[in-house]
């Protein structure tokens, strides 16, 4: 069959053409992504025999029961969840003015500079950045040094004495871990937020002012509601990335386990695949819960 005949064949049958385009990626997506995800989910319904350390391949909720009833496991989930919520809120607050400037005020070179500036850190190795932060946050690190030079060392020490989130130094406290998380995921909040704000027509802001709204009212009534789909998209990134990360909690911060570390440890050294699988279901459940709450508050109404 000639190329022309093949072209005619597909032109006359658009569904075949569509199938030809979609079947390979769908097969790939179906097996590699969804398939492995379901395999993982299936694993979480097995349990490990405490005595033989063998996996018992019978459907059971025993492993989940272990996650939701054992004090240590609940603590891990709560610790991770708290960090994810705090990181998401901080990212949203920091990103909003930056994204607003990028989308609504910056022009030409300045705009390019900001977009490149936001994305540039994402082009360097994740591990390099985490270890660099450990040095920055160390007791003899540059941040402590700057605080010392400014005569604010007392302030830093007071913060580190805060119960629960403090520690001997920034690099071994939850405060330090929080800083690294916020730094790491901030671009994932700024970019969707800026994209959402770019799509707001300038005439809407003019209309708001025209009808008598002062700039603060316009921001609250028009800009913010229209940025919310972007904030929601960004927060899904920051929230889920924090929930799943295991490198930052193991390099920076206090010794308490996070969900990601737990998954890593359980499926590796401990060999408890069912528990690792059950733990990895926790972020999925939390994100679904988060999305349905966001939807109820109308986060996606303007889409």
């Amino acid at each position: 069959m000639s190329v022309r005949a093949a072209s005619t064949f597909f032109y006359r049958r658009p569904n075949w053409y569509l199938a030809l385009l979609l079947v390979p990626p769908l097969l790939w997506f179906g097996t590699v992504y969804l398939g492995s995800l379901f395999a993982l989910l299936a694993q979480s319904f097995y349990r490990i025999d405490d005595f033989t350390a063998q996996i018992v391949r019978e459907p059971t909720l025993a492993t989940y029961k272990q996650v939701v009833t054992q004090r240590a496991n609940i603590d891990i989930v709560l610790r991770t969840l708290t960090m994810a919520v705090a990181v998401t809120i901080a990212c949203a607050i920091i990103a909003l003015p930056i994204a607003t400037y990028m989308a609504r005020f910056a022009r030409g070179r300045m705009k390019a500079f900001f977009y490149v500036g936001v994305m540039l850190p994402m082009w360097t190795s994740y591990l390099v950045k985490v270890y660099a932060w450990r040095l920055l946050l160390a007791k003899e690190g540059i941040i402590a040094w700057v605080f010392g030079k400014l005569g604010l060392l007392g302030l830093l020490e007071a913060a580190l004495e805060a119960p629960g989130i403090g520690g001997p130094s920034l690099s071994s406290s939850y405060i330090g871990m929080f800083i690294v998380f916020v730094y790491m995921w901030l671009p994932f909040m700024i970019l969707p937020m800026a994209a959402a704000l770019e799509r707001v027509p300038g005439s809407l802001l003019q209309a708001s002012a025209d009808l008598g709204a002062r700039p603060a009212q316009t921001f609250r009534n028009v800009v913010l509601p229209l940025a919310i789909p972007g904030i929601a998209a960004g927060s899904v990134f920051t929230f889920s990335l924090t929930l799943g990360d295991y490198i930052i909690p193991s390099v920076v911060g206090a010794p308490g386990y996070f969900i990601g570390m737990m998954v890593y440890v359980q499926q590796g050294t401990a060999g408890n695949i069912p528990l690792a699988a059950a733990f990895s279901v926790v972020p999925i459940v939390l994100i679904f819960a988060y999305l349905s709450i966001a939807k109820r508050f109308g986060a996606f109404d303007a889409l």
């Binding site: 003019q206 002012a209 025209d210 008598g212 709204a213």
Partner: protein, 340 residues
């Protein structure tokens, strides 16, 4: 009586472009004032100065006798109907209309009552709970109108408000807008590039070209006595004879305009008549429009003129096709002398 709006020697420059070039004019209270011109002629820039989205580089803009050059839009008693309507997509129709009272601190129940009254006024009483995206273009237009009128502005600015509507709806809305303006007695400033719209609705029309007002007059005068070649062409779609062509036709080098409906087409050898001017040429195209046809004729002097030929008159011209030699003729008194 204080002018509703006054421009005093106003200029606005963007880089090398003089968007508004030393413009002065006065709009009376209760007037339906149209700003007519091609895109980039400065009419929308003027509107933005009145709304407060922009400020003049030179000169003064006065609202109700007060210089508002540095007053922000939210402190002006002026409201705007935007070209793209600018309805808030995350609010329903009622919330959109109630926005003005809302930001001015009117209570929820009171502003909803006001908004429902406004929706009744624009015949959208039943659509309050819908989102703008669920409305047709004409309905969105009405919501934008209701939202702009709820604050009882002294001046309503309309920026090509009917541009996105189809012809039939546009004509209905023209009648409705005009009626609304009469009933409410508000000053309307209406920006458009459609001369038919400006002529049919406005009390006075300012014709803009390259940042300046070419002529400011009532529609009838604008049409029958255009002051410049630009106005003659833009408003009346008239044929314009420049100095050289006028010299060759009339013997006097004063430019003049002659509208297409005043020109008749004759065979090349038709006899001359008294008080009738004429120019020879050849037919370039004939466009049939139903009641009349528009004949494009390239004059021997080089200009292409058009003549509107009624169906009756066209019958005697049956044998004349594209390329045929013809003579265009018009009564001497139908020609309008132009200043430049």
């Amino acid at each position: 009586m204080t002018a509703a709006i006054e421009f005093r020697e106003v200029s606005r420059v963007f880089g090398d472009v003089r968007a508004i070039d030393d413009v002065s004019f006065v709009i009376d209270p209760g007037e339906f004032f149209a700003m007519l011109g091609p895109s980039g002629s400065g009419k929308t820039s003027c509107l933005r100065l009145v709304a407060g989205f922009d400020s003049p580089d030179r000169g003064q803009v006065l609202l109700d006798g007060r210089d508002v050059s540095s007053v922000p839009p939210y402190d002006r008693n002026v409201n705007t109907v935007f070209q793209d309507y600018a309805l808030f997509p995350h609010m329903n129709v009622l919330q959109n209309v109630a926005y003005g009272p809302r930001v001015r601190g009117v209570s929820l129940s009171e502003r909803e009552k006001l908004a429902r009254e406004m929706l009744e006024l624009v015949q959208l009483g039943a659509q309050g709970e819908r989102r703008p995206a669920q409305l047709s273009g004409g309905q969105r237009q009405r919501v934008a109108l209701a939202r702009a009128l709820i604050n009882h502005p002294k001046v309503l600015l309309l920026d090509e408000p009917l541009g996105a509507l189809d012809l039939k709806l546009r004509e209905e809305m023209q009648i409705e807008l005009k009626g609304l303006q009469r009933r409410l007695g508000i000053t309307f400033v209406y920006v458009t590039h459609d001369q038919g719209e400006a002529l049919s609705m406005a009390d006075r029309v300012a014709v803009f070209n390259q940042g300046k007002i070419e002529q400011l007059a009532a529609p009838r005068e604008l049409y029958s006595r255009p002051a410049t070649a630009f106005v003659a062409r833009f408003v009346g779609s008239a044929n314009v004879a420049g100095a050289a062509l006028a010299q060759s036709i009339t013997g006097v080098a004063t430019p003049f305009a002659i509208r297409a409906e005043n020109i008749s087409v004759h065979g090349e050898n038709a006899p001359a008549a008294t008080n009738v001017l004429s120019a020879p040429g050849s037919v370039v195209a004939v466009q049939y429009h139903g009641a009349a046809s528009r004949w494009q004729v390239k004059l021997d002097a080089g200009d292409v003129w058009s003549a509107l030929v009624t169906e009756d008159a066209a019958r005697s011209l049956n044998d004349l096709a594209v390329g045929a030699r013809v003579k265009l003729a018009w009564p001497r008194e139908a020609a309008v002398q132009l200043s430049s």
